[in-house]
């Protein structure tokens, strides 16, 4: 699907161990797709399509779950309520406090959108996490950034917030280092690491799975090499399970850090 000679195109030409071609390790080129269609300078690619599908899945699923809410939930509504209560009781209330309930819809959408986008990595045919393109984490983080700064300015004022992020009761000379570090944290480091963490985790995960899948195909031959291919295939299965854990964990960490930043902008002190 890519424009250049990527691992998948090399493998399609019958590249195996012993056929003279080196190991076609996955590279950055595997993250660029030929556009499905283009309108002027706008190129619609596979990650965009996956993101739209994910949004559709979430809208459809939760509409279906809560279309006729009953006092005693049955079937899909049970699953929807577990998700809602998890976000409210495990993330929003402990992190933000008594105003946490106002942010449950935002955190709920964030968690499930990121999780489903991550899950696309291990779903056959899709097999690409949209969050491994930096644009998706970055635009989500931009929303988070504006949200917590808006809340900070509304509740503490711009100067008040910058004053309140500095811990009190520290010896005077330490402030020389502490003030720039803390300001840098709320202005740059927090949003930057939030985006990079999600992006890099999914990027590394996709690379890892791609490496072992390519190795499985590359080592396949009618010789003793088939044993190595089988070993690689076992790694694919194990790593897929590991990635499922990482995907849920990253969505959880993203949401809980968002809640923590919003909670910090709501009230002074750590």
């Amino acid at each position: 699907m890519s424009t250049t000679a990527t691992a998948s195109t090399v493998l399609a030409d019958g590249c195996h161990l012993g056929s003279g071609c080196g190991f076609p390790a996955p590279s950055l080129d595997d993250f660029y797709f030929t556009p499905i269609f283009s309108i002027g300078g706008f190129h619609f690619t596979k990650p965009m399509l996956l993101a739209l599908i994910c949004a559709g899945i979430i809208c459809f699923f939760f509409y279906y779950a809560f279309r006729r809410p009953k006092l005693v939930p049955r079937g899909t509504q049970n699953i929807g309520e577990i998700g809602y209560l998890f976000i409210r009781d495990q993330i929003a209330r402990p992190m933000i406090g008594k105003n946490g309930d106002n942010f449950v819809p935002f955190l709920f959408s964030l968690f499930f959108f990121i999780w489903v986008m991550n899950l696309m990595e291990i779903i056959p045919i899709a097999q690409f996490p949209a969050t491994s393109k930096i644009a998706f984490p970055l635009s989500i983080v931009l929303m988070v950034y504006f949200t917590y700064w808006y809340q900070a300015i509304k509740h503490q004022g711009f100067a008040g917030f910058l004053r309140n992020v500095i811990p009190a009761g520290v010896p005077k000379p330490v402030y020389v280092i502490l003030i720039p570090v803390e300001w840098l944290r709320v202005l740059v480091i927090q949003p930057f690491t939030l985006a990079i963490r999600l992006f890099a985790n999914m990027f590394a995960g996709h690379m890892l799975l791609a490496t072992f899948m390519i190795a499985t195909w590359y080592l396949t031959s009618a010789s003793i090499g088939a044993l190595f291919a089988a070993g690689s295939l076992v790694m694919v299965v194990v790593l897929t399970a590991f990635e499922m854990l990482i995907q849920a964990l990253q969505a959880y960490i993203f949401t809980i850090l968002t809640a923590q930043y919003i909670g910090e902008s709501y009230s002074a002190g750590h």
């Binding site: 950055l28 495990q90 402990p94 690491t193 990079i196 963490r197 992006f199 890099a200 985790n201 990027f203 590394a204 964990l249 959880y252 960490i253 809980i256 850090l257 923590q260």
Partner: protein, 81 residues
């Protein structure tokens, strides 16, 4: 950087310096994640009723530490060969 490349070339060692860099970048976060989960489990064993709060904070600490290792993964791709 180029001095390191020259040194590597003069000793006959070839390969990707990015892989070595990632190995170095993983040392600190490796120790850090070990400490975080080790102490987290210890704290949960000492006070099982506080397990929920400890787990939440453990994952926040884990996420902050892990960011360094992940930057290490991405940097070789950013700066190329």
């Amino acid at each position: 950087m180029s001095a390191v490349v020259d040194l590597a070339a003069s000793t006959g060692v070839t390969g990707s310096l990015g892989a070595v860099a990632y190995g170095l970048a993983a040392i600190g976060p490796g120790v850090g994640i070990g400490l975080i989960f080790g102490h987290g489990v210890e704290a949960m064993a000492r006070q099982p009723e506080a397990a929920g709060m400890i787990r939440t904070n453990m994952f926040i600490g884990f996420a902050l530490t892990e960011a360094l290792a992940l930057l290490g993964i991405v940097m070789p791709f950013v700066f190329g060969k």
